[in-house]
């Protein structure tokens, strides 16, 4: 009896170990770990947002709950959970509940395709530290990002409130417009790398130029595409200066005016999770992912467990850097007016990214697409021409909208005098 129990136990433990060291097991464990860790990171990024804001404004920030206010996210989370869950009478019940759920889920499933730490060797097996390594990882992230607008739009529409509705409409127009330059920036990388698999994009950036001095990160090939991608990511995640969907001064809370308690918390967590996914995405595309030059643990050959942990730390540090810049920008820049936002996308970013795209196609034709001199020179020319065009043109990017149609007497019903009076 005892023998059978012990043999069963040992069999069970071996099968557990077998499962944990298979690719599927690693994927499942990584998914659970990343999901849990992300929720912690997300709630603490809200804490750091408040702390950095306080630091920039010469205040102290949250400092009452625990040492240095460190328990503030826990208190906030408890409040989100235990507050009364209000469902207003005038809302569309189904969509009102569905919208924050959608925002939350869409923000979190993007993590599945991020290559976190290269490969791990267990025995004679090499396991990818990546939940899934789809052939189309890059497009998967793009698709998930394009779905993220639904949470905001549906929340705004279902609230049946004019402020929320305007927030949803603004978010839609903004995301549709900024997806175009984002797509072009990603196409530049796809053309340069020749693959859609994020792990391979990382691996292709682990070499060196100039006798091992400069790492082959894409940011040294196309810095302009990197900058524009970062700008579009700010727009896609609804961060300042692109937070028109929730402009407090004009729209109360924008699309989440009617939301409270856990439903608002899900919008909130979803927004920060989206920021983290997008940061990881840029880091993988342009900054070599988990690669760090000259450090042996962050090279693709290092497959020991401590090297994998180190690589995850490197990618995490890059993500934190992006998060800091996003928070920094939020407390530095003013919000765009809506016509400025649209003009920047359609007259500024889209022509520039189109030029970048054509440049990359040309470089590819002459087989110079991995040559930093040509790519950097092309980027500089495009940037210089754009700046010169803006400086020479008679219409400034800011300023009053000049092409608004005149409201004629006929369309206005003859009541213009009353309105102006």
């Amino acid at each position: 009896m005892l023998d059978s129990v012990t043999s069963w136990a040992s069999e069970c433990s071996t099968c557990v170990v077998d499962f944990a060291t298979s690719q599927l097991g690693v994927s499942v464990i990584l998914a659970a770990v990343v999901f849990g860790a992300m929720q912690g990171v997300v709630s603490y990024s809200i804490y750091f947002e408040r702390k950095i804001a306080a630091w920039m404004q010469d205040r102290r920030g949250p400092n009452r709950t625990g040492p240095l206010g460190l328990f503030q996210p826990i208190a906030d989370g408890l409040k989100f959970v235990f507050k009364e869950d209000i469902l207003p009478n005038h809302v569309d019940k189904v969509l009102f509940v569905l919208a924050p759920t959608l925002a939350f889920i869409v923000a979190f499933i993007g993590f599945a395709a991020i290559p976190w730490g290269g490969q791990l060797q267990i025995g004679d097996r090499l396991l990818n530290i990546q939940v899934a390594n789809p052939d189309i990882g890059l497009l998967y992230l793009l698709g998930v990002g394009s779905m993220s607008v639904y949470g905001v739009v549906l929340g705004g529409w279902a609230s049946n409130n004019k402020y929320s509705f305007y927030g949803g409409i603004r978010a839609t127009a903004q995301m549709i417009s900024y997806e175009i330059p984002m797509g072009f920036c990603i196409l530049v990388i796809v053309l340069t790398m020749g693959t859609l698999r994020l792990e391979n994009i990382t691996l292709a950036q682990t070499g060196y130029w100039a006798n091992g001095l400069i790492p082959q990160w894409n940011v040294f090939l196309h810095p302009l595409a990197f900058l524009i991608l970062f700008i579009t990511v700010l727009a896609e995640t609804n961060r300042t200066p692109f937070d028109l969907a929730e402009a407090e001064q004009e729209l109360v809370g924008g699309f989440h005016t009617e939301y409270g308690a856990l439903k608002f918390g899900m919008f909130f967590l979803g927004e920060y999770a989206h920021m983290i996914t997008s940061s990881a995405f840029i880091a993988v595309l342009f900054l070599g992912g988990w690669h760090l030059p000259f450090v042996p643990w962050a090279q693709p050959e290092a497959t020991q467990w401590y090297a994998v942990l180190f690589k995850m730390g490197v990618l995490g540090a890059k993500i934190c850097g992006f998060l800091f810049v996003m928070i920094w920008l939020r407390w530095t820049l003013l919000r765009f007016r809506f016509d400025q936002l649209m003009r920047m996308a359609w007259l500024g970013l889209i022509p520039m990214t189109l030029a970048l795209f054509l440049l990359t196609v040309g470089l590819l034709y002459f087989d110079k697409h991995r040559s930093p001199v040509w790519a950097l020179g092309g980027n500089a020319v495009i940037l210089f021409v754009s700046l010169a065009y803006v400086a020479m043109s008679s219409k400034p990017i800011t300023g009053r909208q000049t092409n608004m149609p005149v409201i004629s007497e006929r369309e206005f019903g003859g009541s213009q005098a009353e309105v102006s009076a």
Binding site: Q130, Y140, G194, E199, G399, V406
Partner: protein, 277 residues
Amino acid sequence: MTSEAAYILYVVFALGAVGLYFLLPNPGRKSAGVGAALGVAAVGALLVFLSQKIGGRGEGSGFFYLFAGIAVLAAGRVVTHRRPVFSALYFVVSVIAVAALMVLQEAEFLAIALIIIYAGAILVTYLFVMMLAQQSGSPVYDVRAREPFAAVVAGFILMAAVAGRAGDLPEAKRPATIPVMQTHTPDGLAPDDLAPGESALGESTLGDPVEFEMESHTLSIARVLMTKYVVVLELSGVLLLVSMVGAIAMSRKVVPVDPNRPAPTPLGEVGKSVEPF
């Protein structure tokens, strides 16, 4: 597949057509329950028929039935729902379910392209227009279907035409297990030693990314598009561009300028003019 199978399919489609007819919005009729029952019965019968006749009992077939059922039911709701916003959302559900079916067929590129283009761009634009156009109340063209009988008959004929050709389809050739992608394994470990699921998830080794790309669906579709169908591809791109330019040209209206309007103040100055330094 025999001809009797095609007749079974005709009966199933007729059932679905009658159900759809009762479900189409019509304020005078109170028989939506009958329509729903018939429609669900038709979808269920179709799934049973597929599982019995065409096979598909291999690995992952449960997912096929799940997503196929979701796609068909959501498509039905697209035409039967009274509120256009919900119709658009059901369209999104249908698109995602079809994308899942494509993933099951290992056509990842098509799946994600479908999601990005339809769910991520076109339907967001639809929603945008619907929300702008109609904020409250249901106009008559939303609560009453136009020509429901003709629509249902036309849909039935289309589906029946597909079913009639179903007899010519080859038998399902999909093996019971997912084909193992040719992976590069570490020394001393043959590819056969790996379970199929592991390799399908993408176990690769260092420095050999090319091997994956050779097998990939994306590369093969790109090769076909850029060699055999390159003229068609370019032509469709030009057609889309022309239609876009045409839409912009048609939507630009000349607005008469109000003669009484004061001359616009110089740019960058709000309300009053500022002397130059």
